[in-house]
């Protein structure tokens, strides 16, 4: 009785899969491999063991077990890896995906329901993948009188800007950041300034009323909350005397700035909620008034890209909060330091006669491996840590704090209703800016009293 699809034929299904696989393979061989060759040709290639790692060499080394580890290591320190994988896009996208999962399950728990449950067998783990597949396979519908180039460009630009924002976030000691700028905080403000433009352009290009109202609302909201956002961070800048985000984190090795500037933290958190268009400030997407705001006309993967961008933005803002107010990656170490000799010299393994024939470095290659060029042991008191240990410890603390902040960003969605646009602007222009100035005066007072800042403890 219960047949899922009565017209289903396994043969057609398999044929479809084989067709797709054939075309994918063809495209990869005809276009992908030459592209990889070209990219490899133009890349700045590392020198490993005195040899220039060319593309040909890399391919030959792939099949040489002894050379694989240096290859992976060189890959780890390449710019491509940083941009695409660890501190950059991939890491952020992973946290963003986890955020979506946590948001769904936590909201479901708060609202006494189950949430995604069946996809992925265990508590709906793979629901996001299923949703992504659905979005990719859906048809993209564009309004007839839309301004097509802008309409197409808007989601891509949105994701690009969010990725640029992510690139400025340092996640671990030792310069684990894609773009380590001296004016990092100012660069963050410059990047944030791009979002309203993309929003208003996409809203305008859809040529529809509801997106336009949503876009205008988003514009008002973002522009008016940028000012308290910037002002609330000035206190920290005054006290640390730097705009570099890594240096701001290192200035908090003793205590996080939230202890001295809770007002600034509250203002920044509120402004952050508004910039992220999260409830209670999700007026641009107020579905009972203006269908879905500036996202109304997006469909298929265009909508998916905008959502991806907004969750990347969420991660980046939470990380910025952690970096500036919660001390970033600083935190107690999880495990004792390794023996210096073990790392520098490695462990000699004797043969049956007792003669050392093989030297094995510490486990957890390549993070704990010695590399006199790049890895320097860092001292903290008497104990000595390798930078690999510091990296892992830093990332764990960073992720823990970021997840905690993300939890508090998500929680209002289950607790508060949406507010109105005039109330929002009132909060932004009257209350938050005033509080931000109070915060700046607290910082200035601390500096001039000599308690903190360049003349104080620091």
């Amino acid at each position: 009785m219960s047949v899922i699809a009565p017209k289903f034929r396994l043969g057609y299904f398999l044929k479809g899969i084989f067709d797709n696989a054939f075309w994918i393979l063809t495209i990869v061989t005809l276009a992908g491999i030459p592209l990889i060759q070209i990219v490899l040709f133009y890349m700045d290639l590392p020198v490993i063991d005195g040899e220039l790692l060319t593309a040909f060499l890399a391919f030959t080394w792939l099949f040489n077990p002894t050379m694989q580890i240096p290859l992976i290591k060189s890959l780890l320190y390449s710019d491509l890896f940083r941009i695409a994988a660890f501190p950059g896009f991939g890491f952020a996208a992973l946290i963003a995906a986890a955020t979506i999962f946590v948001e769904r399950k936590m909201l479901a728990k708060l609202q006494l329901r189950v949430g995604p449950f069946y996809c992925g067998k265990i508590e709906g783990l793979l629901q996001l993948a299923g949703d992504g597949l659905k979005l990719i396979s859906k048809e993209i519908i564009i309004p007839a009188k839309a301004d097509k180039p802008l309409f197409w460009a808007a989601p891509v630009l949105f994701v690009g800007t969010a990725a640029a924002f992510v690139a400025l976030i340092p996640v671990a000691p030792g310069g684990w950041v894609v773009a380590d700028l001296d004016v990092g905080l100012l660069a963050v403000f410059a990047v944030i300034g791009f979002f309203p433009i993309i929003t208003i352009l996409s809203a305008w290009s859809a040529n529809s009323k509801f997106p336009f109202i949503g876009g205008i609302r988003a514009l008002h909201q973002m522009v008016s909350f940028e000012i308290p956002l910037i002002l609330s961070l000035l206190g920290v800048v005054i006290l640390t005397g730097t705009l570099n985000l890594s240096e701001i984190v290192e200035s908090q090795s003793n205590f996080p700035w939230i202890i001295f500037m809770p007002i600034g933290a509250i203002v920044f958190f509120t402004a952050m909620l508004a910039e992220l268009e999260r409830i209670p400030f999700d007026l641009p997407e107020a579905e009972s008034e203006i269908v879905a705001g500036w996202l109304t006309e997006f469909s298929g993967m265009m909508y998916g890209l905008v959502q991806l961008g907004s969750y990347l933005k969420l991660y980046a803002f939470a990380a910025l909060f952690v970096i500036i107010f919660l001390g970033g990656w600083t935190g107690p170490m999880f495990w004792p330091p390794l023996d210096t000799e073990l790392i520098m010299e490695g462990t000699p393994i004797p043969n049956f006669k007792g003669d050392p024939v093989l030297t094995v470095h510490a486990p957890g290659l390549p993070l704990f491996d010695k590399d006199p060029n790049e890895w320097v042991l860092q001292e903290q008191g008497e104990l000595q840590y390798t930078s690999g240990q510091l990296l892992i410890n830093g990332v764990i603390w960073f992720v823990l704090k970021t997840v905690a902040v993300i939890f508090f960003i998500l929680l209002p969605r289950g607790v508060f209703p949406r507010i109105r646009i005039d109330m929002l602007l009132h909060i932004g222009w009257y209350k938050l800016i005033g509080l931000a100035f109070v915060n700046i005066f607290i910082a200035l007072g601390l500096v001039y009293a000599g308690v903190l800042g360049p003349g104080g403890i620091m």
Partner: protein
């Protein structure tokens, strides 16, 4: 059509001279997440609504015309279709009217069972309404909690009548079937639990400062205007008019029960949304009293003749439903079918207040004002 072009009175200060490029017309509905099964043609100037014109009728199904072709018994499953969440209450005036026409007495126990079923249905309806009010204001938790707790009452109604929403439970002369054996205990237990639960609604929704700031002083309907516009139910009571059909013109056994009318003075969206919440508490109270006073056994249905006929008569009966007074006007001409049947429902009577209240409001207040009117589009269209 020789129609008169409507000239609406505008609040002072919003008269617009050049209408060309400042006014934007929005079609809110019928496929809009904030409209329900109707359309509101809203004209906005900036963020202010200068004109609002409700356009119901998207779910009009001619219940009144259809009723003229069916006899008094087969009308029962059809007349509850407009409000399946409040099906007992929308059927109540019809059943009372037919009893008046045919002239039969209802057993005492059946009256109590009817009151219990009606109050349970009122809770079911208000929770559904509250859920949508929550999601209209962007409060998704308030969507899920009442929608889940509604299950308590739906379970009870299912135990009584056997159906989850469309009960078809009231008949002229009593009710369709007796309640199950341990119904009193189960009902008391669930009602008591729900009273505890309803306080949580207050914590997260009604005492929420953001909600208060958002809905207080929006869409204010003064006492005089509420009377003048002929609103009913929670809209009327939120404006400070102490009127409840259950108290003023008690039907069945409401005169033996202690019914308290919840009246708020403010008349704004917040008060209009709070009155149903208080009504649910009052319903729990009434259910508890009725369970206590209900005769433990006895007949629950007076047998009707097959194909009952009303005399040459007309009758108008009204009850208090979840949305206000629901009346039924039956004209009978000595036939098994009603000659004319008219449902006068709270939603339709409250609709007149919508354009009146929306004019001069901000666009962001539109969902709050619209849904606080306790308006159910399907019922208004019939």
């Amino acid at each position: 059509m020789a129609e008169v072009i409507p000239t609406k009175e505008m609040p002072p200060g919003l008269q617009v001279e050049n209408v060309d490029d400042r006014i934007m017309t929005l079609n809110v509905g019928p496929q809009h997440p904030g409209s329900g099964h109707m359309r509101i043609i809203v004209k906005i100037d900036g963020d202010y609504i200068v004109d609002a014109d409700p356009d119901p009728g998207y779910v009009h199904r001619g219940e009144e015309k259809m009723a003229e072709a069916r006899n008094y018994i087969t009308n029962i499953p059809h007349l509850e279709r407009p409000v399946i969440h409040d099906s007992c209450n929308i059927l109540y005036p019809y059943v009372l009217g037919v009893e008046d026409l045919v002239g039969i007495e209802v057993p005492e126990r059946a009256k109590y069972v009817r009151v219990i079923a009606a109050e349970l249905n009122r809770c079911i309806y208000i929770q559904y309404w509250l859920a949508i009010y929550g999601i209209f204001l962007g409060h998704s938790t308030m969507f899920m909690w009442p929608a889940g707790d509604r299950e308590l009452f739906i379970d009870l109604m299912e135990k009584i009548s056997g159906a989850r929403v469309t009960h078809a439970y009231f008949v002229p002369g009593g009710v369709r079937n007796d309640v199950p054996a341990n119904f009193e205990d189960v009902c008391l237990r669930q009602v008591n639990y729900f009273e505890k639960r309803i306080k949580e609604y207050g914590d997260i929704f009604y005492d929420n400062p953001i909600l208060k700031a958002r809905t207080e002083d929006t869409g204010v309907l003064s006492r005089e205007d509420a009377i003048r516009l002929g609103t009913t139910g929670s809209v009327l009571r939120a404006s400070g008019v102490d009127y409840d059909v259950r108290v003023k013109e008690p039907y069945d056994v409401y005169d033996e029960l202690d019914v308290h009318t919840n009246v708020l003075k403010a008349g704004d969206s917040y008060a209009r949304s709070k009155v149903p919440w208080l009504d649910m508490l009052e319903s729990c109270n009434i259910i508890r009293q009725a369970l206590e006073k209900m005769p433990k056994s006895g007949s629950i249905r007076t047998k009707l003749k097959p194909n009952p006929k009303g005399g040459l008569d007309e009758v108008y009966r009204r009850v208090e439903s979840g949305r206000g007074a629901a009346g039924c006007y039956i004209v009978s001409k000595e036939k098994p079918e009603p000659y004319r049947l008219k449902l006068s429902v709270g939603s339709f009577r409250n609709l007149i207040a919508l354009p009146y209240l929306l004019k001069g409001e901000k666009l962001g207040n539109m969902p709050a004002v619209y849904w606080s009117l306790n308006y159910w589009p399907v019922e208004a269209d019939r």
